[in-house]
């Protein structure tokens, strides 16, 4: 069981949400829509590469579509190991947050 970084978690959630349509550009757009975070394509592709090396996602080359210079997309799907790691990360955050949120809100409200 490996530790997941924040960007890795975001990407894995996006891959899960996008299902069969999870390629780099879609993942980037999804993250930006949901969280407002602008992530560069380079960072997404590098992270996807690392996740694939750790067998948390599997890459698959799509059919080339004529018109886009014949370049194929690379689609990603979550592996069972990836799903377990992501679940674990989310559980950890929830467990840590439980009971502390009220205090957190109160602290954040306070003026500097």
């Amino acid at each position: 069981m490996g530790h997941l970084g924040e960007l890795e978690q975001l990407i894995l959630f996006a891959v899960t949400a996008l299902g069969d349509d999870a390629y780099g550009g879609a993942i980037r757009a999804h993250i930006e829509e949901r969280s407002g975070r602008i992530v560069s394509s380079g960072a997404i592709n590098t992270t996807l590469g690392r996740l694939a090396e750790r067998r948390l996602v599997i890459g698959r080359v799509g059919t080339p579509v004529p018109g886009r210079a014949g370049r194929p997309r690379k689609y990603y799907t979550l592996t069972p190991a990836g799903a377990r790691d992501l679940q674990q990360s989310y559980t950890t955050i929830r467990a840590m947050a439980g009971g502390a949120l009220k205090r957190l809100d109160a602290l954040a409200e306070r003026k500097s």
């Binding site: 390629y23 780099g24 550009g25 879609a26 980037r28 757009a29 602008i38 560069s40 394509s41 380079g42 960072a43 997404i44 592709n45 590098t46 590469g49 080359v61 886009r68 210079a69 370049r71 194929p72 997309r73 690379k74």
Partner: protein, 877 residues
């Protein structure tokens, strides 16, 4: 209207994003762009984001590709590398030897520079320690009078602490043979100032400065040598100069200031040291520790304000006085800095030549192996595998060279320690520094790896079929050959520079050896004696001892003459300076008073040293303690202070008082003596005044004994004669005068030999380089030569084809090298004697030698070209 992607963006994407993943990434960038357009962002914003995406992707692609080329050596690669080296033993040997020379010499010289020039002193916070210099009448000296020390240093705000140091020499008796020991009288806070802990016992304490001064701190060396390193020496008594002194402590082993000091005793000033008349008597050195925020320059500035104030208060003695605070480290390294910088420069040149040579060799090998690499690639070896294999080969080569180099460095450092002049402090305890060795290894490894990898890098991004189809006809080799030509030219230029430097130093050395010292050192043996005041209390004692000793020595068979002197040339005798004035003229203020070096000699001195008398008479038996006072001057004094007059018969007053109860009436000049080189063959003769020993009996002097022929007086004879008069008196520094003169050249000889070694290495390497390029060219053009010979070209014509190439390389390299030598000349001009940096003879010899060597290196491969068998050459491939 749909915005289009910017042309710059597309260009950058196409240029920067390469590799296996490139199509997906490019597609992804495209997708992202259209996403942004679809979301309705402003066209400018879309383009900005696109560009950012492209740059970020390019960055991560390159980062990934570097991560992929992580390399682990495999046993297979190692075995392959070893087989290759075995198959080409000559190339491997040359490469390893070159690397070894490079690493060896660099490490040795860096070790020396590191150990001597850069090593911090073994004191607490050594960069804060300064020694003070006093400039007066255009001379800068480390000597202060106690009064000036009190007035200059005492009120200064710059120093946290300061200490006076007076080097002294004493006789130690009572334990074994009597022995002369160099040491120092120091202020009681000396050891706290330096911040060194005692190895044993205590340091000097404030109370010691109030008492009789009969305490002593021993050096580690003296403690081990004379006292067997016993821990119970503390509080025991020993005898120095006839006084019983108490050993209070032992200093740590690395405390070596003043140089060679064997003991330290408290320095106690007497009331008369602070009388106004004593202000001009400078005999104390000053060490000080700067306050934390003060730099040496600031301290100098602050001291100068004090000096200016004193100059107003005491215009007679302190006019134009200047004061200088110099870091202690600089003072100790002093004169050899230039020598070391020269070594540093030359070793850098050698290292560059080594790198150029290794690069050239590996480059050639790489060219020859491009086909092999291409075939491997075509058969399915990945780029990573190819790199791994070539890297292994380069590393094996580099490591073998490194190991040989480390061995060589060890030998070099050994040799330098054995041959080096003793005047360089710290030299004896040098050993190869591991950091330095690592540095040398790293720099050559980087070279060998960088150039060893060229064939693998050449394969990438090219059509492998084209490379496989390559043959050796030369089309592809052209760029490689040009690179090798440039490398060889720079090697030749570097070698020419080194050779010119070595040549100039050799010429200087030869010139120096021909300098007439003004006396004949051959056949003269010298030793020094010091009569302890406790046993020779009466002023009449030393002269009686001297005349008895001289008659004993002259009675020995083989001894032609014997004399005593204070201030013998080339010895470490005190170089005493004195002011003097013409009798009858009023006392000039001290700033404009003539000064001269003072020598006190017995009448036989000029005969013993064979110093010619130029006018008047030498001292003789008539000049006794009671006869009228007389003095001799040298030619320099006569020219400078008696221009256009005959000085003989004139009277002068000498201000120095070196001997107890010396007579200080006006003295008549009775003769003029030839100039003598006093402290070095390359130095000008100072103005000198000679006083007769009988009238100026000092109790510490050097004895000079001339034996007939070139024979040296036997040491046991000398000892026996001295012991016959006083068995407790030690003989110090028994040396032949010729050896002393020779030793004064040791530093030059050292520099010259090292530079010569470097030059020879450089020439050897560049000759190998020339040979390599020519042999490579011949190999490349085998078929062409075969064809030429087959259609009737003469062998001589073929030889000329290549000799021409070699001559061109040599001429360009030599030209650049000689220009470089001229440019670098002013750097070493301070090391030269009697030759200019542009000495045409030296440069001509250098040019001929290098051209000759390069010519040989050209001719051998060129001749082999003429012997190519046309049928063989054309049938090949």
């Amino acid at each position: 209207m749909t915005p289009r992607r910017s042309r710059l963006g597309r260009l950058l994407a196409a240029l920067l994003i390469r590799g296996r993943e490139a199509p997906f990434i490019l597609r992804d960038l495209d997708d992202s762009f259209h996403h942004d357009v679809a979301r309705g962002l402003a066209p400018a914003e879309v383009r900005r984001r696109d560009l950012r995406n492209i740059l970020a992707s390019a960055g991560s692609v390159w980062a990934e590709s570097l991560r992929l080329s992580y390399w682990r050596p495999s046993v297979r690669d190692l075995r392959h590398a070893w087989r290759l080296l075995r198959r080409q033993p000559a190339l491997a040997a040359v490469a390893i030897l070159t690397l070894a020379l490079g690493i060896g010499t660099t490490t040795a010289v860096f070790t020396i520079v590191n150990g001597v020039l850069l090593r911090p002193l073994p004191y607490r916070d050594p960069s804060r320690l300064v020694s003070l210099f006093y400039g007066h009448q255009g001379r800068v000296s480390p000597w202060f009078s106690p009064l000036n020390l009190r007035d200059y240093v005492g009120p200064s705000e710059s120093f946290a602490d300061s200490s006076a140091v007076v080097p002294v020499t004493v006789s130690m008796t009572g334990l074994g043979d009597p022995e002369r020991l160099p040491g120092a009288r120091v202020s009681w806070n000396y050891f706290t100032l330096l911040g060194v802990p005692m190895a044993l016992g205590r340091a000097l304490a404030e109370g010691d400065a109030q008492g009789d001064g009969n305490q002593v701190v021993l050096s580690d060396g003296l403690w081990r040598r004379r006292f067997g390193g016993r821990p119970d020496v503390v509080n025991r008594t020993t005898t120095l100069d006839g006084h019983d002194v108490t050993i209070v402590g032992v200093a740590p082993a690395d405390l070596m200031f003043p140089a060679a000091a064997e003991f330290w005793q408290p320095l106690i000033f007497k009331p008369r040291d602070f009388t106004p008349a004593a202000r001009g008597k400078q005999w104390v050195q000053v060490l000080a520790r700067l306050k934390d925020a003060v730099s040496p320059d600031q301290a100098t500035t602050a001291l100068q304000t004090v000096a200016d104030r004193l100059a107003r208060e005491f215009p007679e003695s302190e006019r134009d006085a200047t004061l200088l605070a110099t870091p202690l480290h600089e003072r100790i390294v002093r004169d050899i800095r230039l020598t070391l910088v020269t070594l540093f420069g030359s070793v850098t040149l050698v290292l560059l030549i080594v790198c150029a040579n290794v690069a050239s060799l590996l480059f050639a090998r790489g060219q020859a192996r491009r086909r092999e690499v291409a075939v491997r690639a075509a058969l399915g070896a990945s780029r990573r595998q190819l790199i791994a294999q070539l890297l292994t080969e380069s590393l094996v080569l580099g490591l073998l060279g490194g190991a040989a180099g480390a061995g060589l460095a060890l030998c070099f450092v050994r040799a330098v320690v054995l041959l080096g002049p003793t005047s360089i402090s710290h030299l004896p305890d040098l050993s190869v520094d591991m950091h330095v060795l690592a540095f040398g290894l790293a720099i050559t490894l980087v070279t060998s790896i960088a150039f060893g990898l060229t064939p693998a890098l050449a394969v990438s991004g090219r059509s492998n079929q084209r490379l496989v189809a390559l043959n050796n006809r030369g089309a592809v080799g052209a760029s490689g050959t040009r690179a090798r030509r440039v490398l060889v030219i720079s090697e030749l230029a570097g070698a020419a520079m080194l050779l010119a430097g070595a040549g100039l130093l050799i010429r200087s050395y030869v010139q120096l050896q021909q300098v007439e010292p003004g006396f004949t050192p051959e056949g003269v043996t010298t030793f020094s004696l010091s009569l302890p005041g406790a046993r020779y209390p009466d002023p009449a004692n030393p002269p009686a001892f001297v005349s008895a000793l001289l008659s004993r020595l002259e009675a020995e068979p083989g001894v032609e003459s014997a004399a005593v002197a204070m201030g013998l040339p080339f010895t470490s005798d005190l170089d005493a300076l004195t002011g003097f004035r013409h009798e009858g003229q009023p006392e000039p203020d001290s700033a404009s008073m003539p000064t001269a070096s003072l020598r006190i000699v017995s009448p036989e001195y000029f005969e013993t040293m064979k110093i010619p008398i130029r006018g008047g008479r030498p001292f003789d038996r008539r000049d006794t303690a009671t006869s009228p006072e007389v003095v001799l001057i040298n030619e320099r004094t006569a020219q400078r202070y008696f221009p256009g007059q005959n000085p003989v018969g004139q009277q002068i007053r000498v201000s120095a008082e070196l001997a107890r109860e010396a007579r200080s009436r006006p003295k008549t000049i009775v003769g003029i003596v030839a100039n003598v080189k006093y402290s070095g063959l390359d130095e000008d003769t100072p103005a000198e005044i000679y006083l007769p020993y009988e009238q100026y009996p000092v109790d510490a002097f050097t004895v000079a004994v001339r034996t007939s022929g070139d024979r040296i007086a036997s040491i046991s004879t000398l000892r026996r004669d001295v012991a016959g008069l006083d068995p407790l008196l030690p003989l110090a520094n028994i040396k032949s005068l010729a050896a002393l003169v020779d030793a004064s050249l040791a530093e030059r000889r050292f520099t010259m030999l090292i530079l010569l070694t470097f030059a020879v290495i450089a020439v050897a390497l560049s000759v190998i380089g020339v040979y390599g390029v020519l042999a490579y060219l011949v190999g490349q053009r085998r078929r062409e030569i075969g064809l030429r010979l087959a259609v009737g070209a003469s062998p001589a014509g073929v030889v000329w084809l290549f000799v021409r190439e070699g001559v061109a390389l040599t001429l360009v390299g030599l030209g650049a090298g000689l220009a470089g030598a001229l440019a670098a000349g002013r750097w070493i001009s301070a090391l030269l004697f009697g030759v200019t940096p542009a000495d045409p003879v030296t440069l001509a010899i250098v040019a001929c030698a290098l051209a000759g060597a390069a010519g040989l290196a050209t001719y051998v491969p060129a001749r082999s070209a003429a012997h190519i068998d046309p049928t063989d050459a054309l049938r090949a491939e």
